[in-house]
Amino acid sequence: MKILKTLLALCMTVLAAQALAQETPDALARRVMNEVIAVVKSDPAIQAGDSRRINELVDAKVLPYFDFRHMTALAMGREWRAATPAQRDALTAEFRSLLVRTYSNALSQYKNQTIDFKPLRMQAADTDVIVRTEVRQPGAKPVSIDYQMDRQADGWKVYDVMVAGVSLVTNYRETFSQEIKAGGVDGLIKSLQAKNAQTGANHK
């Protein structure tokens, strides 16, 4: 009996994992956004701007679907190859907190917007897709927000976000290469740390 139960539980886990792995990227994006918006709308602390609560929400629901290492590499461009493994780790950590804070603060301003998902053009074999959405709010022009995702062993991951057609990741490339020209990769890491310390303090 016990063996049967264990087997059954194992089967269920495998099935559930398969279902998640097979979730199409747009379905995944829709599910995550709906979950996050539901929490934002129902949590008075988040609406009051409680940044700790927002961070918890983003940590738990959103970040597992982002590939920050890939994002950092993309922002660095050709400079990424020149960075040592330790520098890459430090860059990824700092860039990650910069992006996460920007996203969380934007999320805390969420009000009255609606998100439309555009139909996804995707072949079954595709491993790299763009999920296109349009954010509408009353009295303002709709803004397109697109998520570029690739398929990894544990499911689809976002590695680029485009607002109004502009990559919020590669938009850093010019600044990064200026920083690297001035102070090397370590100089860039220091600038990112300083930025994170400064903006983090402003929001406390």
Partner: protein, 236 residues
């Protein structure tokens, strides 16, 4: 009128000054040192005048009324958008824009309500700068215009004719005209209130972040959302 004449007087002089101080650096932004100074002035004006005005406007005027205001100015803009769609060889979009103007000016009560969007006439975003780009003109050097903000030589060239046919300029009574203009500016700024705090959060250097964003988003607009995409994946 004042703005127009000042712009006429200032722009050629400004371009002459700018041309004299090209430096090495970002090839898209040869006038960076001057642009940065202008940005600093614009930013100060924004911080102490325009942004507080926009915040006050947002806090005092309820959302439905602000939507009406945005629709009203957007309705005027649709005519200009329509002409530009025609100039870009997109008659279907162009006549759809004129249709929007007709529907919203009447059923939508002088444009205060965007009925056209509800019946499937989608709003487009076109201007003369995009048209020139569509015709093959490159953006030219990046320009930070006093008061007006980010632009390029091409987009400035496209913005001047727009000012010359501004229907608000034909309002006879000067106080009314100025009030309408002021409302347009403050309402426009109010729409950016979320975006500017994101800029503060995101940018290591706001000047270059804004510049790079502006240039890429204009490229995207010129190509109606499908810019030539350079393949670059530097990952591992």
């Amino acid at each position: 009128m004042v703005v127009r004449n000042t712009a006429r007087a200032i722009l050629p002089a400004l371009l002459a000054v700018l041309a004299g101080c090209a430096t090495t650096g970002n090839p898209a932004d040869p006038f960076e040192p001057v642009n940065r100074k202008i940005y600093a002035v614009n930013d100060t004006l924004d911080r102490y005048a325009l942004k507080p005005a926009a915040e006050g406007y947002r806090d005092v005027v309820p959302l439905p009324a602000r939507t009406n205001v945005s629709n009203f100015f957007g309705n005027i803009e649709d005519v200009w958008t329509g002409f530009n769609n025609l100039l870009q060889g997109k008659p279907r979009e162009g006549f759809s824009d004129f249709g929007r103007f007709a529907v919203n000016s009447t059923v939508g009560i002088l444009g205060f309500f965007d009925v056209a969007s509800d019946i499937g006439l989608d709003k487009h975003d076109e201007d003369l700068g995009q048209t020139l780009g569509r015709w093959g003109m490159g953006p030219g050097p990046y320009l930070m215009l006093p008061l007006f903000g980010p632009s390029t030589v091409r987009d400035t060239a496209g913005a001047i004719p727009r000012q010359l046919v501004d229907p608000v300029a034909s309002v006879e009574r000067i106080p009314v005209r100025n009030a309408v203009r002021g409302l347009r500016v403050v309402n426009g700024r109010a729409q950016l209130l979320g975006a500017d705090s994101a800029l503060d959060d995101a940018a290591l250097d706001r000047y270059s972040y804004l510049r790079d964003f502006y240039l890429k988003s204009r490229l995207n607009q010129v190509h109606d959302g499908n810019p030539p995409r350079e393949k670059d994946d530097y990952y591992e």
